[in-house]
Amino acid sequence: MSAALLEVVDLVAGYEPGLPILRGASLHAAAREIVVLLGPNGAGKSTLIKAIAGVVPASAGRVLLAGEEITRLPAHRMTRHRLGFVPQTENVFNRMTVEENLVLAGFLLAGTERRRQIEALYAFFPDLARQRRLPARRLSGGQRQMLAIARALMISPRVLMLDEPSAGLSPRLVESVFAKLVEIRDSDVAIILVEQNARAALAIGDRAYVMVEGRERHEAPAAILRDDPQLARLYLGGAP
């Protein structure tokens, strides 16, 4: 097993002081690995990746990226460490064109390198290439999710975290979004995927954590969780 690229140790975080949602959660993720976070509503899955991304303040614990401590860095510093985050909703700039969204997200790159990255992403998401001059609000749900992912990919992240990317998408679109995630993983990225859609997520995941009440309760290879009816009934919100 390869060494952990991202390591989270006993992270405590919440929206209000004294009311932690995350109560000492730990996880690790390696390059070329999709780690799925599962669990019932309110278990702290989203809060965990938001706290890693610096969006929700962490009051205790540590986050290490390639051995470097990034705990409590402001959210806007995370792109410099090549940590990408795709929020669940409002994850593109609606009033900007597809191209502007990507140019903005790549502002840390030099001009030619940024251009090359945008063209590479257009090749990866051909739909976006066709819609490059369209304001993002005019995209369909699936295209918008692709743009949100492309926006996060502009910085060539080492770790990419996604909050429920399947929400609101048809099963066919979920399949195509998840197929892209597998390709991204294979380009040497560590992916952390928060999902309600446990079956679809476990189908592409390598490893999974089941979170309960602000902590990770189980950790197992995705293949094992996939075939464990008891776990499904207990923790996956009644999914079959």
Binding site: A53, N91, L104
Partner: protein, 302 residues
Amino acid sequence: MNLQYIADGLLLGATIGLGAIGLTLTYSILRFANFTQGDLMSWGAYLTLTLAGAIGGALSGEVLPLGPFSFGWPILLAGLIAMGLTGLLALLLDQLLFRRLRRHGSAIVMVIASFGASMALRSLLEFIYTPQPLYFTQNLQIARRLGVGIRLTPDQLAMLGLTAILVVALHLLLTRSHIGRAMRAAAENPALAEITGIDVAQVVRITWLIGGALASAAGVMIGLTVQIRPYMGFDLLLPLFAAAILGGIGSIPGAIVGGLVVGLAESLGVLVVGAEYRAAISFAVLILLLLFRPTGLFGSRD
């Protein structure tokens, strides 16, 4: 109908539009009605006057006006420096007052604070410069006939040109530069802007600098074409708000078009209701607008 009223309306409208841009910028990024925008205009005019005096004094000699204009290069230079200083004044105001209140203040606290700051800025000008009106220059300008019954002074033409230049420059900044895109991103979705790597606090600081600088330019324009008084900017506050809301708050082209509409309405309205009700016209425009199209002409709902 006399086309002169239209020319006067456009001139007034250009000034209002320039001030309204600052208002719309701070609103769209901070969701906050900045009542000090008018007083920043006054400060810009007074700072320019003081700096131009200092530059003239340092030269100790007669400075000839530039070409057909009533003003010489010291006023241009002073105006440029004053834009920077007024921007810094706006930034200082934010760092000392608004930023602290933003952290835990409610919307109403922000509005009252900006109203108080507006009063303080105005009173300070009255204290330093007295309420007596001042002028950039004593030179009289002869208005030139431009055909079709319109007469404008060279100064007024220069002001229209300056507005056009500033608006185009700002448009290019917002659409072509990183900081412009970052400002639009922070205005639309500050949380996502942060995730995308944008330091939103930095964007807020730059917004104040730009808003203050534009207010200063607008103040100098009024100073050159009318006169300089401590209330000159505050008296324009209502038209500024009318223009910003008319254009759809947050929209730069909207602010300019809104300014032109309000300016024209004031200028042409005088023909109908008489000059004594001039100030009421932008009020009427604002009320009608809020009743029938609260998102403004260019406003978006998303």
